[in-house]
């Protein structure tokens, strides 16, 4: 069964675009063009509502207030365009889950929608974590690449890999890694960290490309090594 999304947007061109981009991403979209009609829709049947605030008829914030007043817990993503009245702040206070400011690119809206609907759950300390070809078993203090154990990692190296594996795909700053992994008594510097990271990368062997340097920030562990990593 496809995921149903209710789109409340009065602008024809924008509404059509949002409907199309959501449909393209596999969602079943029902589009309502004014507030009064949106107020009559049974919102409980939808997985998410994309709500424009400036609507003819019932105003977006009033719709939100009414839904939350009836204890309808459907996630609501607000489309905001006004800077002056802090519509989105009021919407968040009224129980909106997220907002996207106009003008937006499809990617941003889709990312927000997906984040609301299919947030990947990452559990910590629950057995080994697998990221691409790398499998990290923090409890067993060992790392496998393509199922084969790597040369033994030192405590600092394992800590670095552990911190990166907690948030795969996210860049972690050198400062954060130094603070989390290096001994503060031994005057751990960012240069020391770089040395440790290059050793980890070497020990990962064929999967070394998954541990990427992020310009200006630090490092990230990605599932697939690509050409952008340097």
């Amino acid at each position: 069964m496809t995921t149903r999304i209710l789109l409340v947007e009065d602008d024809d061109a924008l509404g059509a675009q949002v409907r199309d981009m959501l449909r393209k991403d596999g969602f079943d979209v029902e589009w309502v063009r004014d507030g009064d009609r949106a107020a009559k829709v049974d919102v409980d049947g939808f997985a998410l509502v994309v709500l424009d605030l400036m609507l003819p008829g019932t105003y977006g914030l009033d719709l939100l207030k009414a839904w939350r007043g009836r204890e309808i817990a459907v996630p609501v993503l607000v489309l905001s365009a006004r800077q002056d009245t802090n519509d989105k702040v009021r919407a968040l206070k009224l129980g909106a889950d997220d907002y996207v400011t106009k003008p937006f690119f499809p990617d941003e809206l889709l990312a927000r929608v997906n984040a609301r609907l299919r947030r990947p759950e990452l559990r910590r300390g629950e057995g080994p974590v697998r990221i691409g070809r790398v499998e990290i078993d923090l409890d067993g203090r060992r790392v496998l690449v393509d199922g084969e154990p790597t040369p033994e990692l030192t405590k600092v190296e394992l800590d670095i890999l552990g911190v990166l594996a907690k948030r795969p795909g996210s860049a972690i700053s050198r400062r954060a890694l130094v603070d989390a992994c290096l001994d503060p008594d031994k005057a751990g510097s960012e240069r020391t960290l770089d040395v440790h990271v290059s050793r980890v990368r070497k020990k990962l062997g064929a999967a070394g490309g998954q541990l990427q340097t992020v310009w200006g920030i630090g490092y990230k562990l990605v599932a697939e090594a690509d050409a952008e990593g340097d």
Partner: protein, 475 residues
């Protein structure tokens, strides 16, 4: 109270010495009249046989008969009689009078005669007929001495009389003067009371009106103060009308900008998406694809400019407090990075960020998002293809943060670094798109930081590019 105090001091300073001077002058005039009358009487009564007797035995003169004489005067001329009686009374005075005889060179015949005051002595030697002055009795200057010339020479040339001073003592004259002064001052201060209270009411009304309260200026009575009250009331009414007109115009303008912004954002979103579609259909790296990507950048710039205008309008209203809410700065960093990712990809710029999972701050969400968007947009806009932009957010201290936006673009000349985001550049910046990367966006970023009590610094990044550092106060 100060006005009344000044009035009282002024009255005391002016009235008291004046009253005392008047009292003293009155005493002086009384003594002078008494002295003149006494002198005349002496001279008149010492003619003929009495003067001969005086010449014979000046030490024992006068006899009692002479003193009592005029009482028994039974002259035929009534006027003359009255005149003589008057003189006798003047001679006797109110107290016991004593008489002394002096020769032509003003030497007394009796040893108990008072010493003549030098001024009196000189006046008589210069030819005056009558002299008078104060001499000491039991107390200093408590007796009046009057001396009259009764002959041009001989042993009985001058006759003097000494008697207790007439009239009340000086203190008795000054006390009523002081009493009158105090009464005057009290009366004046009391009379000034209503006036002072009116001034106070007027001041209070003007002060409250200045604080923005709708207060009517009190108009009382019909005097000069009333005129002042009327003038102030008229002035305030005119000012209020002007302020009201300005506020209405300002509100209309703000609302117009907000509505226009809102109305433009929708077609702008549509336009961006059309351009994206156009670009994806064009041959990769073709002119069409390049043009579509460029147009996309311009569309984004337009949206950013409009949002910055709204933010500037909000920031210009200094009296309006920030709409602070509890927010997650880490989430905002991710959001802003995501929002600019499409744009960065089109320019082949790698945009990355690092942030802790959560970083709670209490700030104006709209303004902080605008600030961060401006910093990131600026870095992308002036970056070169193949370049990098990085956002790094880290906690600092107990509740602070440290945020950096780095790029490896062309950067800014060291001399211009300190001037980036200066407020006075804002109006010029709004009208020109400067190639150095300064503009409305950075000025807004600095103002947002200032209003939150944060610091925003611009540094050169090594080996090239710009490093923008935002720190909270507790960082």
């Amino acid at each position: 109270m100060r006005l009344r105090l000044r009035l009282a001091v002024l009255l005391v300073v002016a009235v008291v010495p004046f009253a005392i001077a008047l009292a003293l002058l009155q005493g002086l005039l009384v003594r002078r009249n008494v002295a003149l009358a006494t002198g005349e009487a002496l001279a008149a009564r010492l003619d003929g046989p009495q003067h001969d007797r005086c010449e014979e035995s000046p030490e024992s003169w006068p006899e009692r008969a002479w003193l009592d004489g005029p009482e028994r005067d039974r002259g035929p001329n009534r006027e003359l009689r009255n005149e003589r009686r008057r003189r006798a009374r003047a001679l006797r005075g109110r107290g016991p009078a004593r008489f002394f005889v002096y020769d032509a060179s003003l030497v007394a015949h009796r040893s108990d005669a008072p010493e003549l005051p030098p001024r009196v002595r000189r006046a008589l030697q210069d030819g005056d007929e009558i002299g008078w002055g104060m001499v000491d009795g039991p107390n200093v200057h408590d007796h009046l001495l009057v001396i009259a010339r009764v002959a041009d020479g001989g042993r009985c040339a001058f006759v003097a009389t000494v008697r207790p001073r007439e009239g009340p003592p000086l203190a008795f004259t000054i006390v009523p003067a002081l009493a009158v002064s105090v009464f005057t001052v009290l009366l004046a201060v009391l009379a000034a009371g209503p006036l002072v209270r009116r001034v106070l009411r007027l001041t209070e009304a003007v002060r409250r009106a200045r604080g923005g309260e709708a207060v009517s200026i009190p108009i009382e009575g019909s005097d000069e103060l009333t005129e002042l009250e009327r003038a102030i009331a008229a002035d305030r009414a005119e000012l209020a009308a002007k302020v009201d007109a300005l506020q209405r115009r300002d509100a209309a303008l703000t609302s117009f900008v907000a509505n226009t912004t809102h109305d433009v954002m929708i077609p702008l979103t549509v336009l961006q998406n059309h351009l994206l579609a156009l670009e994806s259909r064009a041959e990769p790296k073709s002119t069409e694809a390049e043009l579509a990507a460029q147009a996309l950048g311009e569309a984004h710039y337009l949206g950013s400019l409009l949002q910055n205008l709204s933010a500037a309008a909000k920031l210009d209203d200094v009296d309006r407090p920030l709409d602070r809410v509890d927010m997650d700065l880490a989430d905002l960093v991710a959001r802003v990075a995501q929002r600019h990712r499409t744009l960065a990809q089109k320019k082949r710029i790698a945009l990355d960020f690092a942030a802790p999972e959560h970083l709670a701050i209490h700030a104006d969400l709209t303004l902080v998002e605008r600030m961060l968007s401006n910093l990131v947009h600026n870095a992308i806009r002036y970056g070169e293809p193949g370049g990098h932009v990085a956002i790094v957010l880290e906690p600092a201290g107990a509740s602070g943060f440290h945020l950096e936006v780095l790029d490896d673009g062309p950067g800014v000349a060291p001399a211009d670094l300190a001037r980036l985001g200066e407020r006075r550049f804002r109006s010029e910046a709004a009208r020109s798109r400067q190639p150095t990367g300064t503009g409305l966006g950075l000025a807004i970023a600095r103002e947002v930081a200032e209003r939150h009590g944060w610091t925003l610094r611009f540094e050169a990044n090594e080996p090239t590019g710009l490093r923008v550092i935002l720190e909270s106060a507790s960082a």
